[in-house]
């Protein structure tokens, strides 16, 4: 089994060089560049820092980042080469498949590059070579950890999320990565500029996690403290043992689990957004609304003003002389508020076509839930990415939880309020098919009332979460910040849930009146 898998891996590796000469040449070049980068990554700290302990701290950071990536990246972006599931029909024991898969991972590009980096590290850190056995032990443990972590997280991702949800996972991973970038940038600038003490404290903390343990341990051994070194290595060893221990059951479960047959998807193949949503009322409404957002210019025109509002607000505050760093927290909640508030007249946008929802007898809460899809699909990534940008501009990453909590709360609360108002007070809007810049054909009371009331309601219900977040912004303690995050999420979700239930009730009760109202506007 193992020999066969190794041959397969070798073929997969070799396939990069097959084909035309230019293609092979390009593969060789890329491979050499990547190897050079791996060596450079080991070499760079010796260029930057001359003091051994500081250099070790940097190595802890770099190593932690690499091992963290080895654990997380395969979870979100696995290409599906040689996964346990594929061997379900092979007549071999799960145990032998599991060990063969693990063993053959050695022959993959990331594993080879990791090996290059580790060897370069061993060569370029003469101070670590003193007790050679400690260095070798540490680096071998790192290698084992990286290999098993990659396999385990990739297999778990395959086991929990079937192959048809790979795209969603990749999108989530990308959003998280983009959201982390400003933080990483901020972290690097902070570390390079910070006083010695705080960096060392961070490195020491990371050194007790499996990600940085080997590098911290190697430095301890070099300093002559073998006991501390062994303790560090022990942490990493424990992590490797845990990964090994879960790997075998995961493989067994993967081999036995039966994936949902892909057949039903045939019904919605080629139907655009409908293909990506399940065949339930709320989901198809979500798909329909997303289709409308992409096809109907009326929605785009409504959204296009949103980015300009916070810019104008900032300008106004800035002219008035407010501190730009504090102002950094303002634009994102405003954007999210306006984004979610754009739903407050959603039923009227459908015009009389809403009759098909009423005539089908679907539950009102399904209608309400489905309509949230585009706003949440845009709003959640914007809230996450925007929050990290916000704290980077503010120059204070410790308030990130509070900022995220506040923004999510504003988004959820406003969604909930809009869910109620779009069935409570629909007012005339541009008809489907008319120019998005055209005035509605019918005017009367309602538009001003609904806009004012829904905005006021959204603001009022946002106040508790924003208030707690502001307290956490002023008094920067981890407890307040985590509390603000938890409160923001829970409170926002509660208001959203209430809004959906209440809006759904109103929809159930007033469906015919909604049709009558849209008929008047049409």
């Amino acid at each position: 089994m193992a020999a066969r898998l190794l041959r397969l891996r070798l073929t997969l590796l070799g396939s990069a060089f097959r084909g035309s000469a230019t293609r092979a040449l390009r593969a060789v070049l890329i491979g050499l560049l990547a190897a050079a980068a791996a060596v450079a990554l080991a070499w760079l700290p010796t260029l930057l820092l001359h003091e051994a302990d500081a250099r070790a701290d940097l190595d802890v950071f770099i190593g932690s980042a690499l091992l963290g990536a080895a654990l997380l990246v395969p979870f979100f972006a696995n290409r599906g080469h040689l996964e346990p599931r594929q061997f379900a029909s092979v007549p071999a024991r799960p145990g032998s498949i599991a060990s063969a898969l693990l063993f053959s991972t050695v022959l993959t590009w990331p594993a080879i590059l990791l090996l290059v980096w580790l060897v370069a590290l061993a060569v370029l850190r003469p101070e670590w070579q003193q007790p050679v056995w400690a260095l070798v032990l540490g680096l071998v443990l790192v290698y084992l950890f990286a290999v098993t972590a990659t396999r385990v997280s990739s297999a778990l991702s395959k086991l929990w999320f079937g192959h048809d949800r790979g795209g969603v996972l990749r999108v989530v991973g990308t959003v998280l990565l983009i959201a982390l970038l400003p933080l990483a940038f901020f972290g690097i600038t902070a570390i390079s500029g910070a006083p010695e003490g705080s960096t060392t404290a961070a490195a020491r903390a990371l050194g007790w996690s499996p990600f940085g343990a080997a590098f911290a341990g190697a430095q301890q051994a070099a300093n002559g403290d073998l006991g501390a070194a062994l303790l560090h290595f022990g942490v990493l060893l424990a992590a490797v043992i845990v990964l090994f221990a879960v790997w075998f059951p995961i493989v067994r479960a993967s081999l036995q689990s039966v994936e949902r047959p892909a057949d039903p998807a045939i019904a919605r193949r080629g139907l655009g957004w409908f293909e990506r949503f399940s065949a339930k009322p709320a989901s198809v409404i979500a798909a329909r609304v997303l289709t409308y957002w992409s096809r109907d210019p009326r929605y785009r025109v409504g959204l296009s003003a949103i980015p300009f509002v916070p810019i104008l607000m900032i300008l106004a505050f800035w002219v008035a002389g407010a501190d730009l760093r504090t102002l950094a927290a303002v634009p994102l909640p405003v954007i999210l508020l306006l984004l979610a508030w754009s739903l407050h007249n959603d039923v009227a946008m459908d015009s009389t076509a809403i009759w098909s929802h009423v005539a089908s007898g679907i539950a009102g809460r399904d209608d309400r839930r489905g309509r949230l899809a585009p706003v949440l699909l845009i709003g959640l990534p914007v809230a996450l990415i925007g929050s990290t940008v916000t704290v980077t501009v503010m120059g204070e990453w410790r308030v990130l939880p509070a900022v995220i909590g506040m923004n999510l709360a504003v988004l959820f609360v406003t969604c909930g309020v809009s869910s109620v108002f779009s069935v409570l007070i629909p007012y005339p809007t541009t008809r489907p098919g008319d120019s998005p810049f055209a005035q509605p054909q019918w005017s009367g009371s309602g538009s001003g009332l609904s806009q004012t009331l829904s905005m006021i309601a959204a603001l009022v219900f946002s106040v508790p979460a924003v208030w707690i977040a502001v307290v956490a912004l002023v008094d920067v303690t981890p407890a307040w910040n985590l509390g603000a995050l938890a409160f923001g999420v829970v409170y926002g979700a509660a208001i959203l849930g209430l809004g959906i239930l209440l809006g759904g009730k109103i929809f159930d009760r007033r469906g015919p009146e909604l049709i009558a109202a849209t008929q008047v506007f049409d």
Partner: protein
């Protein structure tokens, strides 16, 4: 020589009267302020019957039909489908009703295929069934080549047909159709008639409105005449027309013989002379 639909309709009328009543409205009334759009409308539709509602423009046909399909709340009265009250247990009753309203929009930014799938799922059809039904309906209504185009680009007649297909996708017991033949060309109209007749022959019921007496006489077996919001005659087409043509009978019932009243100024001479 195939049997013309009018003969089939007469034959069906006699048989359907024996069948149980599927749809029943009881003293249905709808007031818009002072104006009564429908007053005390009591109609019965038998299983397997094709019932027409006729009346002059603005007589209350659309109001009555939209109250039946749960889109327009009656001021008073009761509607039951298979003894389920449409206005008390909406979701259960609406599963049994297929609706084609007049003058209401469809979600026309979807393609034909998307719209059929969407309406099918909303009406609780299982996903695998939607696929086959949508394909067969598109085929039956001659929309096969248009399924990938946006419904907003369809002609008025094609929109009626996709609307009909949407009304039928969840295999309802009763079809409530408001002016289903409006804007449909003659060839498609006979095609649609065939589809509806098959539906009725399979035990379903159709209640449709039209202002074309000729059409009603040709395809329906039962008829209800509504004038000014009230039913002034109903029963099998033969019973209602009472030996006359439906058009003569209608003129007789409404008391209007039409042409001779007024508009003298319009005839003969012109103001510009």
């Amino acid at each position: 020589m195939p049997v013309p639909s009018i003969v089939r309709a007469r034959e069906r009328g006699r048989l359907a009267t024996q069948n149980p009543v599927v749809l029943r409205t009881e003293v249905l009334t709808k007031n818009y302020g002072q104006i009564a759009a429908a007053s005390d409308v009591s109609i019965q539709v038998h299983a397997g019957s094709f019932t027409g509602i006729v009346g002059p423009n603005g007589a209350g046909k659309t109001t009555t039909l939209s109250m039946i399909s749960g889109l327009n709340r009656p001021t008073s009265g009761r509607i039951t489908v298979h003894d389920i009250d449409v206005w008390a247990d909406g979701p259960a009753a609406k599963r049994l009703i297929g609706t084609l309203p007049d003058r209401l929009r469809l979600f026309d930014r979807l393609t034909g295929a998307q719209l059929l799938y969407y309406i099918g799922i909303l009406n609780g059809v299982r996903e695998d069934a939607v696929a086959t039904r949508a394909a067969e309906l598109a085929e039956a209504f001659g929309l096969g080549s248009a399924m990938d185009r946006l419904v907003s680009d369809y002609s008025a007649g094609m929109q009626k047909k996709i609307g009909l297909a949407c009304a039928m996708i969840h295999a309802p017991e009763v079809l409530v159709l408001d002016e289903p033949f409006e804007a449909i060309d003659p060839v498609s109209a006979s095609n649609v008639t065939d589809i509806l007749e098959k539906f009725v022959a399979g035990g379903g019921s159709v209640i449709m409105s039209s202002h074309s007496l000729d059409l009603i006489q040709r395809v329906c077996d039962h008829v209800a005449v509504i004038v000014d919001g009230s039913v002034i005659a109903q029963g099998t087409v033969d019973a209602v027309r009472d030996g006359m043509s439906l058009e003569e009978r209608f003129a007789h019932l409404t008391g209007e013989s039409g042409a001779e009243k007024g508009l003298q100024w319009l005839h003969g001479s012109s103001d510009s002379v």
